[in-house]
């Protein structure tokens, strides 16, 4: 049985539906992420798990127990707040001891437990400091330590890294993964940063305006987005409007208007004449002055370089197809001495394998 079950939960504010019939389950020990753009209802869903909001309908089960009417202080669920919400009048050690005291842990036991978790987040020497005497990353770790110390069944994290700079964020991501492995507590993590979600999670629920659009492992979400929204939201993606012209068992043919016919993996519910979007990641497209046309698994198109974007490790080339459509491609700058392979207005060829793209029905 799953540790957490969310069944058909709805939450409205006035006539605005913030969470719209969400159902999902989270297994014990999982690092589960709710990913979505700002305002899609991630925090609202998290607050319902913590008990600060009550669902209008549907139910939330933790360990099989219905959480309806259980107040936040009675749930075995702790939250790492986006603002950290450390108690400014308590030292680091007192902050971390707080949940233990509230739970009535024996006074003699408390320092031991506090020290143990301080060790886990590598903050032993800061035990006697006050929150305002810590850096952002250190405060973050205190907030996590405080939420972990009483070993909740579920740890909720609401964009915990969003206040940190890019470098520190990356470091904290690694620490979070390791910490989660070490303590073995189930994490439900909220973020609007797709890179973070892909890097951290065992599974991701992509949310859009109160609904779950796709729930899968990171690789699946990235390679096989189920909707145009997911493809667009996760990473860079070319979205080519296309119509199905032929359906086979292994592959199907789709027509990109004004460009030509491409091949793709068949999708459920496909019909001849069905319209949709061919989603294609830039790094899966081959680019060259002239590409050999001997692979039957590849489709070929001609184009013209419209813009180049030099990023250091790679260069992004925006290639204009016959119909004026722009396709984003990239080449690693691995060749010695060379930083750019093409210039604006160079004529180029594009190619991709039939299984590189993924067709989503409109």
């Amino acid at each position: 049985m799953a540790l957490l079950e969310i069944r058909d939960v709805v939450k409205t504010f006035g006539d605005f539906t913030a969470v719209n019939h969400v159902s999902l389950s989270v297994e014990a020990g999982e690092f589960f992420t709710l990913l979505g753009p700002s305002g899609c209802g991630k925090t609202t869903l998290l607050r319902m798990l913590a008990g600060f909001e009550q669902p209008d309908s549907g139910e939330i089960l933790l360990d099989g127990k219905n959480m309806a009417g259980v107040p936040p202080e009675k749930r075995p669920v702790h939250t790492v707040f986006q603002s950290y919400a450390l108690f400014p009048h308590m030292t680091v050690a007192q902050n971390i001891a707080f949940p233990l005291k509230m739970a009535g842990v024996a006074a003699a036991e408390i320092p031991k437990r506090v020290n143990k978790v301080l060790e886990d987040v590598r903050l032993q020497q800061f035990a006697r400091r006050y929150p305002h005497e810590l850096s952002g990353g250190q405060r973050q770790r205190v907030a996590i330590a405080r939420a972990l110390v009483n070993r909740p069944r579920l740890l909720l994290l609401d964009e915990p890294l969003s206040a940190l700079d890019a470098k520190l964020r990356e470091q904290m991501q690694i620490e979070l993964i390791n910490l989660q492995k070490e303590v073995g507590i189930t994490f439900v993590y909220v973020t609007h940063d797709q890179g973070e979600a892909l890097a951290l999670s065992h599974r991701i629920a992509v949310m859009n305006s109160g609904q779950v659009e796709q729930l899968d492992a990171p690789e699946t979400i990235y390679s096989y987005p189920k909707s145009r929204f997911v493809a667009d939201f996760i990473g860079q993606c070319n979205l080519l409007d296309a119509t199905i012209v032929e359906i086979g068992s292994e592959r199907m043919k789709v027509e990109i208007a004004g460009v030509g016919v491409a091949e793709a993996l068949p999708v459920a519910g496909a019909q001849i004449g069905g319209k949709g979007t061919l989603t294609l990641r830039p790094e899966k497209i081959k680019l060259g002055a002239a590409l050999p046309a001997d692979d039957a698994n590849e489709v070929h198109f001609k184009g013209k370089v419209h813009d180049c974007l030099y990023l250091g490790d790679v260069t992004i080339y925006m290639v204009e197809l016959d119909n004026g459509m722009l396709v984003e491609t990239m080449l690693p700058n691995s060749a010695s001495g060379k930083a750019k392979f093409f210039d604006d207005d160079d004529l180029v060829e594009l190619a991709w394998r039939y299984d590189a793209g993924h067709f989503v029905l409109a």
């Binding site: 202080e73 939250t79 707040f81 919400a85 108690f87 030292t91 509230m102 739970a103 939420a147 009483n150």
Partner: protein
């Protein structure tokens, strides 16, 4: 250089004001505490004007200063227990007033701080509204409310009669004095508390609840300790003025509800014993300073222990 000039220009006028109207008078009063009262009240003069020549003549010198300066006024303060008792009683009144003000003001300040921006301004306005009418008028109003003829007293006494309790006279009692003191000082407790509570981060209460604290624990572990600066500010604003208050005991109090303020006023205006009045004033100031020092010391010790 310019910066320093600007600093002096800005802080100069208020400093001068404080020097002229606080430091110098305090020094004069401190000196007066060591002098003798004059034959017709006031102070025994140190300088005499010769009626014939009009020349000023300084009477005090190194040989006869004992005829002009004395410890006697201070001795009198410490030797007659009535004065210390009066001090203790005044501290007691001011302390009760402060305590009642905290208990009454805290929920009100909390309510104001938690209401919407619009109602908040309205409520703050209502708290300071009484200041728009004269202090004495408001105290006289209490004389009427607590007086034996008022509906309030009559209804109260009827209710008491039902329980077989003798009618009480509210006015001219310690009770009336405390009511008056609380009434006058309540806004000075509400405002600093409100200013403090309004700044509290609500996320802290969510965090406390999330970590297992019930409503009672959330208040005592989070809200209350974080509001202490407001409580202290309000305490200073209520306790110190309440300690020196004389109008309210005069108007609402009975014969035994006199406070230090009344005694000081009596010394200066009625008995015209300025030296002893000065002694009382100085002792009042010193005792307030001593209390503040003890509070500061206790505060810093409390922090160091954590």
């Amino acid at each position: 250089m310019n910066n320093r000039l600007a600093k002096w220009l800005i802080s100069g006028p208020p400093l001068l004001y404080l020097l002229l109207f606080f430091a110098i008078p305090s020094a004069i009063m401190a000196f007066a505490a060591f002098r003798f009262p004059g034959d017709y009240g006031g102070l025994l003069p140190l300088v005499e004007v010769n009626p014939e020549t009009g020349a000023r003549e300084v009477l005090i010198n190194f040989g006869n200063y004992a005829d002009f300066l004395t410890w006697e006024n201070f001795q009198r303060f410490f030797e007659e227990p009535i004065y210390i008792e009066l001090f203790l009683k005044s501290f007691w009144y001011a302390g009760i007033t402060t305590g009642v003000c905290i208990v009454l003001a805290y929920p009100l300040a909390w309510l104001i701080a938690r209401s919407s921006k619009k109602t908040r301004d309205l409520l703050v306005l209502m708290v300071i509204l009484p200041f728009w009418s004269n202090f004495l008028i408001r105290v006289y109003a209490w004389m009427i409310i607590l007086g034996p003829q008022s509906y309030f007293s009559q209804v109260l006494n009827r209710v008491l009669a039902v329980f077989g309790i003798e009618p009480v006279s509210l006015l001219f009692s310690q009770f009336a004095v405390i009511i008056g003191l609380v009434y006058v000082h309540l806004p000075f407790m509400v405002l600093p508390l409100y200013a403090n509570l309004e700044k509290h981060d609500m996320a802290l209460l969510d965090a406390a609840q999330d970590l297992g604290a019930n409503a009672w624990q959330r208040f005592w572990k989070v809200t209350w300790p974080l509001s202490l600066p407001g409580v202290w500010a309000g305490t200073a604003l209520v306790f110190i003025p309440a300690l020196g208050m004389f109008a309210i005991p005069d108007l609402l109090g009975g014969t035994n509800s006199m406070m230090i303020g009344n005694l000081i006023k009596q010394q200066f205006l009625d008995s015209r014993d300025w030296p002893f009045g000065s002694v009382l004033s100085i002792m009042l100031t010193l005792s307030v300073l001593l209390m503040a020092a003890i509070a500061a010391w206790a505060g810093s010790r409390g922090k160091a222990k954590k």
